[in-house]
């Protein structure tokens, strides 16, 4: 048998996938419906509140993971966009500068537009230099929020009251754990399905090709900057969603929302969950949130426990929790 024929036989055993898009949409619909059960299965309001906070983290971690998955870029400054979303919403609502609906739109679109413009520049840079640039952007915004007292009381932060209604619906529910947990869950599910669909789309596939091999993509005829900038914008939009949800739930904004430690934790969450999978960072965020919560209850030096957990996960699950699950699933499917 020739080498070619031999290879054809060797490789032909792999089955072709069925309609993955249909499966994805079905799974998304089931997850959305399941979200409505959360207030009933949660043991207390505190548990619901904690889970809602974990979901905010999950959105931010998803944003970091998506940037890595589609652009191959590590960000240490994604909190810049969640923070900007929080501040835009909080400041506009607190000062009654525009209606609540307009504030919401600005809070989502401003970070998205800024990320797109930044993406046109920093997408050309890779590795440590890229990570440092994102860090610089995040810390620059942190410094602005920290020092500009007239904006939102500087380092003290600023609390604000939500308007009575947003889009004709009572806004009070945004600060009710039972409502927020369902809302945040629903948004997370929609975001995850949307990102998965994007990854399977033409633009998503081209972005992945550019991530894999920028030079070859150029020689196939592609501009390599625009798809990357688009991924930055989408990731920032997801981060801004996290920021707006957090700000509206807590009714409070503070410079710490921009801080690099928030971005760093989001990156750790993405790594723990599995940054090569759309759902991985969200799973990592929820896992790390509860590890942090548990560690904080049992030890004063809880970051050491979190650090230990990170070391264990990195060594035993280099592709993260979802990576390990995927590996086990493939092994069992082969048997």
């Amino acid at each position: 048998m020739s080498t070619l024929a031999h290879d054809a036989v060797r490789y032909a055993k792999k089955p072709r996938g069925t309609s993955a898009t249909a499966v994805l949409l079905l799974a998304g619909a089931v997850a959305l419906l399941a979200g409505f059960a959360l207030p009933w299965i949660a043991p207390s309001k505190l548990a619901m509140s904690l889970f809602a906070q974990a979901l905010f983290d999950a959105l931010l971690a998803t944003s970091v993971g998506f940037l890595f998955l589609q652009n191959g870029r590590v960000s240490f400054g994604q909190a810049a966009f969640s923070g900007l979303g929080s501040y835009a919403f909080g400041v506009l609502v607190a000062r009654n500068l525009v209606g609540a609906e307009a504030a919401l739109l600005v809070a989502l679109l401003l970070p998205t537009a800024l990320a797109f413009l930044l993406g046109l520049v920093i997408a050309r840079v890779s590795g440590v230099a890229h990570a440092m640039l994102t860090l610089a952007v995040g810390q620059a915004l942190y410094e602005v929020a920290f020092r500009w007292r007239e904006l939102a009381k500087g380092d003290d932060g600023m609390s604000f009251d939500l308007p009575a209604r947003i889009f004709g619906v009572s806004a009070r529910g945004l600060q009710d754990p039972a409502v927020m947990v369902v809302l945040a869950w629903s948004i997370l599910v929609i975001v995850l399905v949307g990102l998965a669909l994007f990854a399977r789309s033409r633009t998503g596939m081209v972005a992945a090709a550019i991530r894999d091999n920028e030079e070859r993509a150029r020689f196939l005829g592609y501009s390599t900057t625009l798809p990357r900038a688009l991924v930055y914008a989408i990731a920032a939009f997801v981060a801004a969603l996290a920021g707006v949800l957090q700000a509206s739930y807590n009714g409070y904004i503070a410079p710490q929302m921009f801080h690099w430690t928030v971005s760093g934790f989001a990156l750790i969450m993405a790594i723990i969950g599995g940054a090569k999978f759309i759902i991985g960072p969200a799973v990592g965020a929820v896992a790390l949130f509860y590890i942090k919560d548990f560690a904080g209850q049992v030890a004063e030096y809880w970051p050491a426990i979190v650090g230990g957990a990170l070391v264990i996960v990195t060594l035993t699950m280099p592709q993260g929790i979802i990576g390990l699950a995927d590996l086990l699933w493939r092994r069992s499917a082969r048997r």
């Binding site: 020739s2 080498t3 070619l4 290879d7 054809a8 036989v9 490789y11 032909a12 792999k14 089955p15 072709r16 996938g17 033409r202 596939m205 081209v206 992945a208 090709a209 991530r211 894999d212 091999n213 030079e215 070859r216 993509a217 150029r218 020689f219 196939l220 005829g221 592609y222 501009s223």
Partner: protein
């Protein structure tokens, strides 16, 4: 339309004080497979880089089907029908074979990928990430990426590098066949002289950045200067 599909006129490329290409002229007719041979450092890959837009030429012009593309980017040259492969395997390791061929096709008006997969025996590998297939398959995939959309001009930089003798001849046979049927003009850099002499219509010889000679395979084999500089007496 001009009979010349690919033309380089007075192409010059310098790296500091080193002259990698020194006023090189080359003209390849439509449908021709032109071999480009010469010892290491002769400027073969540099010439491919300059023709494809990967490297900027200090002087000279590049024409595709009579159109001056000297100031155009690689993307713009691709739109005008020029494709290339690289010395080292240059694919998308995390994408499946089919995904990356689709990506290649979207760049050239949704060109058919089934024909390329069939011609290059990649259909059975469609669902496999490129990183998981064998080196020989990766080299054929590399060529397939360049062939999507039937480019009018194809620049190949050592496509048979690292392949077994059998794989090299299979690749050469596919290339000769496609050039004939699809009327693709090919400029081929290759060190495997058996492959070069088996499929090329004409051969250009570079040495120290200058063109040493050009002719049919028989003419090049009989050229004493080329034999002395590169082929030796074994060819």
């Amino acid at each position: 339309m001009s009979d010349i599909a690919l033309q380089g006129i007075g192409l010059t490329r310098r790296f500091g004080g080193f002259i990698a290409l020194d006023k090189v002229d080359i003209a390849v007719k439509r449908g021709e497979i032109r071999g480009l041979i010469g010892p290491n450092g002769a400027g073969k890959s540099t010439l491919i880089d300059v023709l494809s837009g990967r490297a900027k030429n200090r002087a000279g012009r590049v024409l595709i089907n009579g159109e001056d593309v000297s100031g155009l980017t690689p993307q713009q040259r691709r739109k005008r029908g020029m494709a290339r492969s690289f010395q080292r395997t240059n694919i998308f390791p995390d994408l499946t074979v089919e995904q990356q061929l689709r990506v290649a096709s979207w760049a050239v008006a949704d060109a058919d990928i089934a024909e390329v997969m069939d011609e290059l025996h990649l259909a059975g590998l469609a669902d496999f990430p490129a990183a998981q297939i064998s080196y020989g398959d990766q080299r054929r995939l590399d060529l397939a990426l360049a062939l999507v959309g039937r480019p009018s001009v194809l620049l190949l930089d050592e496509p048979a590098a690292g392949l077994t003798t059998e794989e090299s001849f299979t690749l050469a046979r596919i290339l000769r066949d496609l050039a004939n049927r699809w009327n693709v003009t090919v400029l081929l850099v290759e060190h495997d002289m058996q492959v070069v002499f088996s499929i090329c219509d004409r051969i250009s010889v570079l040495h120290l950045g200058r063109q040493l000679g050009e002719g049919t395979c028989a003419e090049v084999r009989a050229n004493p200067t080329v034999v002395a500089a590169y082929l030796g007496t074994e060819a």
